[in-house]
Subunit: 242 residues, 2 copies
DNA sequence: GCAAAAGTGTTCTCAATACACCCATGA
DNA sequence: TCATGGGTGTATTGAGAACACTTTTGC
């Protein structure tokens, strides 16, 4: 069984990683006017989890997060932001790891290094939904996008981590040019506004939003987009390089 | 020699702590119109360092930071904020720890757990300067306040950590009621303004500053302060409880 | 009374808001 | 030509900046 081999191989890597330290990534995407998060379905369990991993002894924590992201999405040089460390004494990681290991290798459970208490560094990532090619890791059977509003049953304290990531995203929304990472190359003003409304969870005024965005001098107009609808064709925009 | 015993005792604590994870605290105080940072002078070295420590297996990271702060300042329930993790692969911790250990126990150097690579969680703390009773730890011979503008030679990447802490403090200045932690119980408007000017490193207009602070509805006037100077006596203010 | 610093009033500016209008598109 | 949604013009509001003025204190 390849599954067991993979787990054994992984458990043998103990010395490669910094012990009791993990990285969890909240990967945000935007699709169909919805803010989405990429989650992994744990094998044989009715539980989902954030993409995560460990920090190799020879790599920095940011590189570890980039590597984990690349492994789960196929994308390089993703926009990434460290936002908080989760390290309270009563983080319920052990119970979940036990559950996971029971499914795979009950006999290896007692002395494994993964059963220790963990401190986890939270990162959030912004990706172009359409470019992501989700890949589950060896502990999970699938990888799917979920709407922020309809998250499934989550393992560990991952619901809290997602919540904190979203709060951070909201606070830094204006200063971080979030759109340039979450939207495709070109987009309409309505899509950009919809993104902001979704993140902030509040309606914005169409005309004022447009004026404000244009006044920031970060967008340039491309051609018009003819959808076939019986109304004025909107311009497509793109973020300026510089 | 008590010094050596203390170090040996400490090195024997290996299993109590989460390995390769440390906490560094940037303790800000305000005195004589100056923003200050509390630093420790490493024994027999011309180097200063931030108060720091390790996370006990049974405590959360926030509690660890609180414990470290209490040990170095004598104060409980300090205002504390996690601001960033420092974990790049090339953090120059090993060289410094070697220097420190050479001074104390050159023969214990090779296999010690403190010589490993470390990931450090940065916290900043805001304290009432006048209430702090600085105490050095067993690796340091003294504990002193330094002006932000005149920091001494610092070990590790502690200069960078202090810099990042200050940047975070600046950004969150308006939303965090910084004054209520850095100033004594009562203070003049001029002192509050001076604090803001020091943190922001920019002059503010006296009259506009006063109006803005009063309009926030977080201050209450106490009695006037008669200094003996030949001018109008300023009111003393205090932060409202609520 | 005078200098010095505290406190208040008033205008100006600019950006965010709100409301209104014009433009393009396909049926 | 009409409904629909995109784009722009303009009045209003409010916070912050800039300037001026009044008040209090000890000499």
């Amino acid at each position: 069984m390849p599954l067991i081999n993979e787990l054994d191989d992984f458990l043998a890597l103990k010395d490669r990683f910094i012990p009791q330290l993990s990285v969890d990534c909240v990967i945000f995407g935007f699709h169909n006017q919805q803010l989405k998060v990429l989650l992994l379905k744990l094998k044989n369990l009715d539980l989902w989890a954030l993409p995560g991993g460990y920090v190799d002894q020879s790599e920095g924590i940011d590189e570890a997060a980039q590597r984990i992201l690349e492994e789960r999405t196929g994308l390089r040089d993703i926009y990434l932001e460290q936002f908080r460390v989760f390290g309270s004494a009563d983080r319920s990681t052990k119970e979940f790891i036990q559950k996971i290991m029971e499914v795979h290798r009950p006999e290896a459970m007692n002395d494994s290094w993964v059963l220790q208490r963990y401190v986890s560094i939270g990162y959030y990532a912004l990706v172009d939904f359409s470019k992501v090619n989700p890949k589950p890791d060896f502990l999970s059977e699938s990888s799917e996008w979920f709407e922020m509003k309809q998250l499934p049953k989550l393992a560990f304290d991952h619901r809290e981590i997602i919540q904190k990531a979203l709060e951070t995203l909201r606070i830094t929304l204006d200063s971080k040019l979030v759109g340039s990472n979450l939207l495709p190359e070109t987009f309409t003003m309505m899509e950009l506004q919809s993104l902001y409304e979704t993140i902030l969870e509040m309606p914005l005024r169409r005309n004022n939003f447009q004026r404000k965005m244009l006044s920031l001098d970060i967008l340039e107009r491309v051609e018009k987009l003819y959808t076939g609808a019986a109304n004025k064709a909107p311009y497509l925009y793109r973020f300026k390089k510089s």
